[in-house]
């Protein structure tokens, strides 16, 4: 009786095993990293719903949402996204800000993707303003808002109005002001394609907060000088 049971078990297992191997292979083919990157998570409900549903794990879910967006956008060229996909990304950012308005990687990603890649500076400003209301100790959100007004919307008044670089050394504020001023004054500069790229790359460095974020003014100052006087030709290393 016992031998019969064992035999039945082994036979059933052997019959199921090929099916399992086929299924696993099919699943792996379907779920390639490229395939998964193509799927941007869809959040159909209003952000308030997710805010309530997240309960006490709102912070953790905001972290996860950032990682999800970073993995999606990092795994493919952001430029390849269509408007519908950008709508989904924007929704994810909106929910992430709603859940945790303080989180630095989220608002940096908003600034990096919604403005430069998605060309949606107004939406980025709206989200950054929510961050700015909460993250009162950080100079970067108002700087981004000011930068977006200046660079994307060409609204110098709002740019200067929003450029309160709180918590940053005074000389950084002056540098940024000079930067703004110098770029508007050098009229012929932006018309040169290479020069324009330099300025944009340098701006990305500043707006990305890579250097001023750590309290250093040295690099922004150098970038400002270089972009103004055309010193150096390659900014890829710093952007």
């Amino acid at each position: 009786m016992k031998t019969k049971q064992t035999l039945t078990f082994v036979v059933v297992l052997l019959l199921l095993l090929p099916g399992y191997i086929v299924a696993v292979n099919m699943l792996h083919q379907e779920r390639t990293p490229e395939q998964q990157e193509r799927d941007i998570r869809n959040f159909p409900f209003h952000q308030d719903f997710y805010y309530v549903a997240a309960g006490e794990f709102a912070g953790l879910i905001a972290d996860f949402l950032y990682l999800d967006v970073a993995a999606t956008l990092g795994g493919r060229r952001a430029a390849l996204l269509d408007e519908d996909e950008w709508d989904k990304i924007e929704k994810i950012f909106t929910i992430a800000v709603h859940l945790d308005p303080y989180f630095e990687p989220t608002f940096r990603a908003i600034q990096a993707y919604l403005t430069w890649s998605a060309k949606r500076p107004l939406r980025a400003i709206a989200l950054l303003e929510k961050v700015n209301e909460k993250r009162t100790w950080h100079w970067m959100p108002p700087f981004y808002i000011g930068f977006n007004h200046y660079f994307f919307l060409k609204d110098n008044w709002k740019a200067s109005h929003n450029c309160h670089l709180r918590g940053t050394p005074g000389r950084c504020i002056r540098q940024c002001s000079h930067w703004y001023q110098s770029l508007t004054e050098i009229d012929g500069y932006n018309r040169k394609p290479a020069g324009k790229t330099h300025v944009q790359t340098a701006y990305r460095s500043i707006a990305g907060g890579i250097y001023p974020g750590r309290g250093h003014c040295k690099v922004p100052r150098r970038l400002w000088r270089e972009s103004t006087f055309f010193v150096g030709s390659d900014y890829n290393g710093v952007s």
Binding site: G55, E56, F57, Y102, F103, W137, R214
Partner: protein, 267 residues
Amino acid sequence: MRNIALIARITFQEAWRNRILLSILLFAAGIFALNFILADSFNYELSKVAVDVSMSAISICTLLIIIILCINQLGRDIDRRIVFLFLARPLARHEYIIGKFIGFASLLFLTELILGGGGALSVWVISYLKPAYTVVHFSWTIFAMALLFHFVGCLLLLAAAILFAILSTSTLLAVLCTMGVYFAGHYVERVIHLLTISGNPESPVVQFLHAVSWVIPNLAAFNLKQHAAYGLTIEPPMATATLLYGGIYIAIVLTTTAFLFSRKELS
């Protein structure tokens, strides 16, 4: 008082020996190890991610302890008539309830201490290895306060769990009711807030939810994860009011439980 201490000690020892607790602690250890990998996936504010993961792991573990361990043990005591062994002694029924509560509370405190210590260690290691990516205003005092508030929140849920375990005839029902209190306790305040700012604050739904919020413990008030993650300050009046609310709520629920248990027909 001696009776209460005796019940508390037996409850604590019995729960401590349970293997469920060991698996929960192993799960927490796994989460803390994962913390390092997870936090490393982020570019900035790694310590914030570490705090989020640690505090969330603590929340899940303590919730599991209350749901699985405490309710099960109480239900088993009544179902298997173990409770008679206690009540046969010169022991008042309210002493049994208070003893049980203190025993479970001690267990939760020890768990919180172990998990909180593990969480703090992982946050400290991450902050030490990558100081440039630590949240600027991070404070250990606020981290400790967040743990304390979380512990008090757990006690509220524990008191409700004991009430349901004593009242209901099945363990599953008690678990479901406790889960309901847990979710409602975290959601009611947010729902009221959202309905108030987006709709009519005088609507019957909002009024009903306001009434519910008097009965359901406001667990969201004890959730200071965001404060711990960013080092946001907690205003002393707010902290005092929250702790006072927690203390009085626990006292009311335990008194009710003791009263109902003293009238319960045990057969």
